[in-house]
């Protein structure tokens, strides 16, 4: 099912005022598509992910909407969202290492979770074991405690558990960041495989690793300071980035094998704006080499080529 996030604005309440962590994020994920969401730390990636499934007490939905297969998700209404969670929208958290109750055997925890959501464990048991096998785990992990598994195994168990109800939308927030490269690859490939087999509808793959996105995402959304900056099919984005931020971000990532002596790469000068009281207009303007007067107004997030949207006055 397609997911449409339009102009989503979610703020954090703090003593010092509201942090405008998400202030006009838009994206569209087609059915069966994996969308990578990238951006600097603090640009609101996790906030976006959380907003789509469960907002915590300090988050406030200020505006914008989320549609899942045409139906509006009641993201601000904790109770109404309950119906969608897990069955429709699911999550692989970054903290997979600690996502499972440390004192319950994994199988039992899964059973209790499923039954509390009205699913008979016995009915899905076989499927569960099959999927575990798909990610290279034996059924015996169900009899173990989380602490008995390595990080990569835990991440995979969480992957299987989160997708067991075949959710239409899966949010994977930094799902592989804590793993070493070999495990990262295994989990990422498993995710793609699950999508291919139809266990997962669409997927938002949140990460700060552009190279990883390049490996598995169909489309990419680049976020900056709570807003979508650019969104395009992966190869398009890598080859023809339109937003100056995207371009600078790409040029700051050295490829394996390049050395400083061959090609010195440069970072983005300055740092992202504080979201407590962000500047008006384009939020990137202070760091942007192309900035001009018009940047004082907020650039719209418009389509500049098929499936390629950019929020920049200078992007053609």
């Amino acid at each position: 099912m397609t997911v449409e996030v339009s102009e989503l604005r979610v703020h954090y309440r703090t003593l010092r005022g509201s942090v405008q962590a998400l202030d006009g994020a838009s994206l569209e994920v087609g059915d069966g598509e994996v969308m990578g969401v990238v951006g600097e730390s603090g640009c609101g990636k996790s906030t976006l992910g959380k907003s789509l499934i469960r907002m915590d007490g300090r988050m406030r939905h200020v505006g914008g909407s989320v549609r899942l297969g045409g139906e509006e998700l009641p993201i601000a209404d904790d109770r109404a969202m309950q119906r969608f969670r897990y069955h429709e929208v699911s999550l692989i958290p970054q903290y997979a290492m600690s996502a499972m109750n440390p004192t319950r055997r994994i199988g039992r925890m899964i059973r209790e979770l499923l039954e509390s959501r009205g699913v008979r464990y016995a009915e899905v048991r076989r499927e569960l074991e099959r999927r575990l096998e798909l990610v290279g785990l034996g059924a015996d992990v169900l009899k173990r405690f989380p602490i008995e598994l390595s990080g990569g195994m835990k991440q995979r168990v969480v992957l299987v558990l989160s997708t067991l109800r075949d959710p239409s939308l899966l949010i994977a927030d930094e799902a592989t960041s804590a793993l070493d490269v070999a495990n990262q690859r295994a989990v990422a490939e498993a995710l793609v495989q699950f999508r291919d087999r139809g266990f997962i509808g669409s997927m938002l793959f949140i990460t700060h690793d552009l190279a990883l996105v390049a490996q598995l995402a169909d489309t990419v959304t680049v976020m900056y300071a709570g807003r979508s900056a650019e969104s395009a099919p992966t190869s398009e984005l890598l080859r023809r980035p339109r937003h100056p931020y995207t371009r600078m971000l790409l040029s700051a990532v050295p490829e394996v094998g390049t050395t400083i002596d061959e090609s010195r790469q440069e970072g983005i000068p300055g740092s992202p704006p504080a979201l407590l009281d962000p500047p008006s207009g384009c939020r990137f303007k202070d760091r942007c080499p192309l900035a001009f007067e018009q940047c004082a107004t907020r650039p719209p997030f418009i389509e500049v080529a098929s499936g390629h949207r950019v929020a920049c006055w200078k992007a053609e």
Binding site: V181, L210, L212, V253, I260
Partner: protein
């Protein structure tokens, strides 16, 4: 300048320290001036332990670490240690926890003053701190006097390097100094390291990220379970990795312009037998090319 000769580290863990844990095994390497040596390996492979041993934060179990030919472990007494730290300094992974959160960032400088520059007047000292800060590309007015949480990770890491530069250091141990940073700031810090190298600083650069390892380093050391799997000039190790472990690592690194499947295919072609056991059968790594050493394939591909 810095040489490690068959250095091993055994941690004692478990009840009453009864269980030995071989964190580092027989590692030998050198860091000459103006050279960046990267230590690369997965989590727990002993990278940090090596760094800490060089910094004398952890005692060596066996083997010798020498700086300018003087045994580092033999430096006894507060004075000798102070003398060592004048030339050898470290920067660590987490910029936030490298600063005492409740004091302004200047404190990292001030700590040095007491030990190394007791004679300096306030103005002289402030000037030297400013100079150091500017040298790492920071605006002293913007960073000094601030609290750690008010600065970005990149700024903090640079401050820490600046701190080290206040002394006349010749060797910097950089332990994963970029892994907590954003892509865009990483490159700045790496560039800074490159500049320092050009000024003749020797750097022991610890990382688990291969892509970044290649960017600055001259020599790459791939560690596996505490032992050297492969070691050689960076270019060569990446171009023709001999150890299956190195190859596996390279194949798993996500790259922007090449898929995993392609990488697998490419790397598969370069396979070969364990040079240690097919060759002279010594215990240590075997030289397979100019300055290119490969350790025993151990466990998976090697009978041993």
């Amino acid at each position: 300048m810095l040489t490690l000769d068959r250095v091993s580290k055994v941690y004692r863990v478990g009840t009453f320290g009864t269980q030995p844990l071989n964190a580092v095994r027989d590692v030998s390497l050198t860091v000459p001036p103006g050279v960046v040596v990267s230590l690369i390996g997965e989590s727990g492979s002993g990278k940090s332990t090596i760094g800490r041993m060089v910094l004398r934060l952890t005692p060596v179990t066996s083997g010798a670490i020498a700086f300018d030919g003087r045994d580092v472990a033999g430096l006894s007494g507060h004075r000798a240690r102070k003398g060592y730290y004048r030339h050898v300094q470290g920067v660590f992974q987490d910029p936030f926890s490298s600063f005492n959160p409740i004091f302004p960032v200047d404190r990292v400088f001030d700590m040095l003053r007491g030990a190394y520059f007791p004679g300096l007047s306030d103005t002289e000292w402030r000037a030297s701190v400013r100079r150091g800060t500017e040298r790492v590309g920071l605006d002293p007015g913007q960073v000094l006097g601030r609290y750690p949480h008010q600065l970005s990770g990149g700024q903090l890491q640079r401050l820490l390097i600046a701190r080290a530069l206040t002394l006349d250091i010749r060797l910097l141990v950089a332990d994963e100094i970029i892994s907590m940073l954003d892509a865009s700031t990483r490159i700045d810090v790496l560039n800074l390291l490159g500049d320092l190298r050009a000024e003749g600083l020797g750097i022991l650069f610890v990382t688990h990220d291969l892509a970044l390892g290649t960017y600055v380093s001259d020599t790459t050391v791939i560690l596996r379970r505490g032992a050297v799997a492969e070691m050689g000039p960076t270019r060569q190790v990446y171009a023709s990795p001999r150890h299956p472990y190195t190859r596996g690592l390279l194949a798993s690194v996500p790259r922007m312009h090449r898929t995993w499947a392609d990488a697998d295919a490419e790397l598969d072609s370069a396979a070969g037998p364990c040079p240690v056991h097919s060759g002279p059968g010594t215990a240590g790594p075997v030289e397979v090319g100019p300055d290119h050493f490969v350790g025993c394939f151990s466990d998976d591909a090697c009978p041993e």
